[in-house]
Amino acid sequence: MSAALASVPAPPALEAVGITKRFGDSTVLDSASLRLAPGSVHAILGENGAGKSTLVKCIMGFYRADAGEVTIGGKVVALDGPRDAQRHGLGMVYQHFTLVENMTVGENLVLSRAELPFVVDFAKERREIDAFMERMPFRLDPTRIVRNLAAGEKQKLEILKQLYLGTRIVILDEPTSVLTPAEADEVLSLLGTMAKEGRISVLMITHKFREVVGFADDVTVLRRGAVVGGGKASELSPAQMAEMMVGSEVPRASVKRSAVEGGAVVLEVKGLRAADDIGVEVLSGVDLLVTEGEVVGVAGVSGNGQDELVEILAGQRAPTSGEVRVGGARYGGTRTEISARRVRLLPEAPLKNACVAALSVSDNIGLRVFDESPYTVARFGVSRGALRRAAEAAIRAFGIRTPSADAAIGTLSGGNVQRAVLARELDGRIALLVAANPCFGLDFGAVAEIRARILLARNEGAAVLLVSTDLDEIFALSDRILVMSEGRIVHETPAESADLGVIGRHMAGHS
């Protein structure tokens, strides 16, 4: 197949010069520049909020940059959104899939085209898609419904879609965040091969050094909206890149992990089964134990039943069979049980899952206790004064940055919302703490602090169940690691002897 492709001209060079973007008063991008050489893989590396997405969105024409220009093949272009970008051979693969779940692979491909005839002849399109798949290095069955594809297959479909559209410069926003390590390697090496063959150039956003070292030719590092370094990926070590990414401030508030004597079993899950919102079984017999003073990390690619497991423990979903015991007694997640057994929860996206955005910081901190003494007045009344005093103490103790205890919690930053939830959940003695991606989307400082608080709770004897899709987090906190795949616990290992490769294989469903 390469004989025919050898005649295809190389993709054009893409260059962004001095891109500046302001939202209101804050400058999100400050004169950022980069050059994507034809047929290369270029990584944009940076922390959350470093301006990576904003930069590519300015290139793609989603945002109009306040200053700077973009050139394609040496010509200055001002792209006006995705359709215009497509005409110039630019296409983007987003972090979250932009596929239509209730349609087939073939329909998704056909519909991505800019120019569609009024009546779509699917028999003819089908033949053309089959011919197109023949030329591709990887294939998908065009008749499959997207809803039933695995995450890796969906990501491949996103990439196929770009190639189907004739995109020469593929921009990917954290393309591997929903993939297993093996799937990620496969997708990235496919992209790398196609770039080497001169079919495409690849510009990809990432925060994983592994991907930069393994698959990128060039790298540009962003910090707080400015380019702080870059060059040939082969000439930079992960340590150098890390230093560029985070600068001098690496606040690693580390808590010593004190040895806790083999304690009693706190959480016992037996043969737990549950179905998702459309009735498909997503938990197929989960068994696990968590003892006092132990962090059990549940690793896995998102969508393998972790959400449903956490929802059952939080009382948000009823299991179809199986049982959950906390402290030896059956547990159904009611408010009475949660309070009596001292179960606490740190869900991901805390503003959505653990707060009432329109209520004040003080009210949110008091959500678990407002109807109990000493916060009650005349039995059915609530003492706002008592709630407020407790909240103010918590705000000081947890360093929650808020204008006042009366500010609506929805106006706080993500890190401070999670601190407020921590203040509420970590109050008093805890028997069981369930944490689900507790640091997702938070900045470095907040992450270190939240992890330290979780370890502190463990050291004080709490049993901690940590469900996370971030392997670094699992390794940093866990005493024991479980891997969840397709609704089952498929692997268990003590953290100190855990092997990343083995865990990755189990996450992918291979043992």
Binding site: G81, P82, R83, Q86, M92, Y94, H96, F97, T98, L99, V100, E101, N102, M103, E107, L111, S112, A114, L116, P117, F118, V119, V120, D121, F122, R147, A275, D277, I278, G279, R317, A318
Partner: protein
Amino acid sequence: MAGASGIGIWGVPLGVLGGAIRISTPFLFVSLGECVTEKSGRVNLGLEGTLVMGAMSAYAVSYLSGSPWIGVLAAGLVGVPFGALHGWLSSRPRVNDIALGIAMMLLGVGLAFYLGKPYIKPTAPHLPALPLGFWSDNAEVRAALDVNALFVLGLVLAPTLGWFFRSTRPGLVLRIVGENAEAARAMGYDVDRVRLFATMAGGFLAGVAGSFLSLFYPGSWNERLSSGQGLMAVALVIFARWDPLRCLYASLLFGGASAIGPALQSVGITSGYYLFNAAPYVLTLLIMIASSSATRTSADMPAELSVLR
């Protein structure tokens, strides 16, 4: 009961069949309209108001112009601005389409009563019926098989809409918008505009549904004309799982259920008449209970419908 003696008890299934066809037509059009709107990811509860407005306009225009078909067209065209208003307002920030729909329903009904006062008395020309019972000497058989042309139009429209959603560009774009607005935006489609057009089309069909009420069955304009067909259509669309062809079957089922009371009365069974008249509503409840689930959401539901704004 001399008329019924000709066919006796067979009058009941015949009456139900005839009633199914007659009564289902407005259900069919308004549910197809709601189906188009909901496929784009929005709910328009205002179709009841549009339907009553359509009924009034059709009657008035038919009376003034002398042509019932111009009346039908007028009813549809009156529905379009109602749909447009709903579609446009829903795209504004912090507007909830459900609450807006209820307001639009009351607006439509109130406006129709206000503007329709002068047309309660006069008699407007009716829509013609196709005499499919011509082969029979029995008056009752002929009456039951007098099928209105609009019903035939609906019979064609339902599969056509199915094809439209499956194989045409606008139909597919409409589905993308209803399934994943973010993806539609990424493909460069204007989500609000697609929804605006979908709501306008829904308004047109609801208007046409109203014209059937005033121009064929029951066939006059008054303030008690509609019995909630526009609201029932929302339930019908859910029951039909957002499939136009299944909307047709569901409408026929509802029409048949509505005809049970009158059909029984025609053979002399009058006890429980009002109870039988409630059959379609009881059926609605039963279907909703049977198809509901505390833990599942339907996989056929346009995904954007579940997004709370």
